[in-house]
């Protein structure tokens, strides 16, 4: 199997879907000859032509609006946000149009809005946000956040084939840092299914995106202290895999909810609620959150480092929880 980066795996997934289904097309800022800000769409316009790889004006509202319209006319558009931070300009089209059309008219809106999110690359407050929860709160959308190259390809393909609007969060820190064997050819990773990345017995760490890797690193460190972490990668945030979460919590009896997103209104709060509702009598300690603090992502590299959850913070929380 060829070794692909996370970014190349996404490109391959889109590429295969474009080959497979003529109704799939791309639109976004500088995605044509330039190949996109991060080069996800490099080579696409040469292969599929300007009609299927469309450079748009700098207007996210126009990009999403055009995609919604095309979807209603039977197309399967994949819209790129140059940075997921800029998705706010297309907010109305997403939450009031794309998410609600099926409920109002019974019509499918099979669009994918994808782009780079997340911090760790010194991008400052406008190029580093994890804003997935803006959309995880909107019924009618699906929200996806892969952590591995294999999943990135399988999930982008599943997202393109899904008949619902999907917001697809690619973690820019992982774009070229994650490289692994990815099968050539067609496979999908189903939406709504989590994956247990590491089996453990003492504390379940529920996370997604780049933090999966941080959690795995922390698990290595803590193993030396005799604390066994189970690491669950949610992969899809809406709808999230409640069954997988509860199974791991019941197995370990203690849980850390980890994300790079800020604290208040983060997914950890929702997961804490569902665990308290459905697994209260399986808990042997408090539900613990490890998240970024409630501030914008700082520009200063030392402050950004302070802002982000890391191995140390996870290990500290895990040691405290293990001793509880």
């Amino acid at each position: 199997m060829p070794q692909l980066t996370y970014l190349e795996a996404i490109r391959q997934g889109i590429w295969e879907e474009m080959e497979r289904d003529a109704s799939v097309f791309l639109l976004g800022e500088d995605i044509g000859p330039y190949g996109g800000a991060f080069k996800v769409t490099a080579g696409m316009v040469e292969k599929f032509g300007e009609e299927r790889v469309i450079d748009t004006p700098i207007s996210e509202a126009a990009i999403v609006g055009a995609a919604v319209g095309a979807a209603l006319m039977g197309m399967r558009p994949v819209a790129e946000m140059q940075f997921m931070d800029f998705i706010s300009c297309g907010f109305d089209q997403i939450v009031n149009m794309a998410a609600k059309i099926h409920y109002r008219w019974g019509a499918a809106v099979p669009i994918v809005i994808r782009g780079p999110s997340g911090a760790g690359v010194h991008g400052g407050p406008f190029h580093s946000q994890s804003n997935e929860m803006w959309f995880a709160h909107v019924p009618g959308l699906k929200v996806v956040a892969p952590s591995t190259a294999y999943d990135a390809k399988g999930l982008i393909k599943a997202s393109i084939r899904d008949n619902n609007p999907v917001i697809f969060y690619e973690h820019k820190y992982l774009y070229r840092r994650v490289k692994e064997a990815v099968p050539d050819g067609d496979y999908v990773v189903p939406l709504g299914k989590a994956a247990v990345r590491r089996e453990g017995s003492d504390i379940a760490v529920i996370t997604y995106g780049a933090m999966v890797w941080t959690a795995l690193e922390a698990a290595e460190v803590l193993e030396r202290d005799g604390i066994s972490l189970e690491v669950v990668d949610l992969r899809t945030l809406l709808p999230y895999d409640e069954q997988c979460v509860l199974t791991s919590v019941r197995k370990c009896s203690k849980v850390i909810l980890l994300h790079e997103d800020t604290r208040i209104g983060g997914l950890a709060g929702e997961l804490a609620a569902v665990i308290a509702e459905k697994a209260f009598e399986d808990l042997d300690g408090p539900i613990v959150r490890v998240t970024a603090p409630d501030t914008p992502v700082p520009f200063s590299p030392p402050l950004e480092e302070y802002f982000l959850p890391n191995v140390q913070k996870i290990a500290d929380a895990a040691r405290q929880l293990a001793a509880y």
Binding site: S253, F280, E281, D282, L283, D284, G285, A323, Y324
Partner: protein, 432 residues
């Protein structure tokens, strides 16, 4: 309702205590606040009063047993046996809705495994279990396996019973033993920080176990040396003025105040004034923060036959000379007669030690954690010194300050000592 009697926390750094004596037998009636048992810890020996009135139902820790703080050592049944029986229906009802909510787990032992317990005792045990610190999971397992949580020693934070604890308990419980308290595991053996490398000595020896107090003093001393960067500075101070003031005022002081006039309040007053000038000496270190404390709580080390105790003069910064002298005499006296309250050995922010009373010229005291400095006073004695190019006889003493170089530099420590010297040498404060 039964009440759990726990090993109290006798000081913020104390982790365990030893029961010396039970003053009541199971079945005895106790009043609330009536002395129930005697304990010894590194900080104080104390009589522990009963937290509630009732019958002493069960003693769970025997004499000479050392247990962790917050361990349940006894259970007092508030209403007596008759009342416990009366409340059985109430208890029997409680688990009922749970049965509907939770499908029976396959691990529930068949009823035959559990020997029939007297209804009253079982009820008391269940209700006692609910008052222990545990978790929803532990309570569920206890319910499913008919386990009396009061029989389990928790190893979690604050003695909390964790999943691990109850599973271990269940593992050790054979059907025949069900419901009978397992032999309590010994406290986890901490490697003794006081023991150095073992050196072979072949001659005859005698072995004496350390008292709990001695063991904990040893641990605290090593812990302090590992925590702080100890540096000691020594100043020579001319105490003539203090000595003369004391000699001049001693009789009148005793007559009017009923207090012996000692040197300690002089030193304490001077130390407080110096701390006010240099508040860092009234601080502590938490990770990368320096915590400045508003109140100056002055610890005064008192040597006892069995060890060392440091009673604390709270808010020493607000006390005038007479109040300081009264506090010193009161606390030192009660320290020697072992009548200190727990809170009187806690919350110190700065400590004074006085090796001079045994003739020591000066020493290098160890900081009393989490404080950052300790002031020592050497013997006050007449020495020939040079004054105005002539040799004079003066009452001199060495004062030493051990400080934590993590946050206090030598220059600051010496400024502190220079200030102190400057208060003591021309003593001006009226003692009455």
């Amino acid at each position: 309702m039964p009440t759990n009697v726990v090993m109290p926390q006798m000081g913020e750094s104390v982790a365990e205590g030893t029961i010396i004596k039970w003053l009541k037998k199971p079945g005895d009636h106790v009043e609330r606040d009536e002395p129930l048992f005697e304990i010894t810890t590194d900080k104080v020996d104390a009589e522990i009063p009963s937290p509630a009135a009732g019958i002493l139902a069960k003693i769970l820790a025997s004499e000479n047993e050392t247990v962790a703080v917050n361990t349940v050592v006894a259970i007092i049944d508030g209403q007596g046996v008759a009342e416990a029986t009366k409340s059985v229906p109430e208890v029997a009802e409680a688990p009922a809705p749970e049965v509907e909510l939770v499908p029976p787990a396959p691990s529930i032992p068949p009823p035959a495994m559990t020997p029939p317990a007297a209804p009253a005792a079982a009820a008391a045990a269940v209700r006692a279990g609910e008052k222990l610190r545990s978790s929803p999971l532990v309570r569920r397992i206890a319910r499913e396996h008919n386990v009396d949580l009061s029989l389990i020693r928790g190893t979690g934070l604050g003695g909390r019973i964790s999943k691990k604890d109850i599973l271990k308990f269940l593992e050790g419980r054979t059907p025949a033993m069900a419901g009978i308290p397992a032999v309590k595991p010994a406290l986890p053996q901490k490697p003794s920080p006081a023991s150095g490398p073992t050196i072979a000595f072949t001659g005859p020896t005698q072995v004496a176990a350390m008292t709990p107090q001695r063991r904990l003093i040893a641990e605290h001393m090593i812990a302090s040396k590992k925590t702080s960067a100890h540096v000691t500075t020594v100043f020579e101070v001319d105490m003539t003025s203090v000595v003369q003031t004391r000699e001049r005022m001693a009789d009148e002081f005793e007559r009017s105040q009923g207090l012996k006039l000692t040197y300690t309040p002089f030193i304490a007053r001077a130390a407080v004034e110096a701390i006010k000038q240099f508040p860092i000496f009234n601080s502590s270190v938490e990770e990368t923060n320096i915590i400045y404390k508003q109140a100056i709580n002055l610890g005064i080390a008192v040597a006892l036959e069995t060890g060392l105790i440091v009673p604390v003069i709270k808010n020493a910064g607000d006390k005038n000379f007479v109040e300081m002298a009264r506090a010193v005499q009161d606390l030192a006296g009660r320290a020697r007669s072992k009548h200190l309250n727990v809170d009187e050995v806690q919350e110190g922010t700065f400590t004074i030690t006085n090796p001079g009373i045994f003739g020591s010229l000066f020493g290098t005291p160890i900081i009393n954690q989490p404080q950052v400095a300790i002031l020592g006073v050497g013997v006050i004695e007449k020495r020939p010194v040079v004054r105005d190019d002539a040799i004079a006889i003066r009452s001199m003493a060495y004062l030493m300050l051990t400080f934590d170089h993590r946050i206090i530099d030598g220059a600051v420590a010496d400024q502190f000592m220079a200030y102190l010297k400057n208060v003591l040498e021309p003593w001006q404060e009226p003692v009455l």
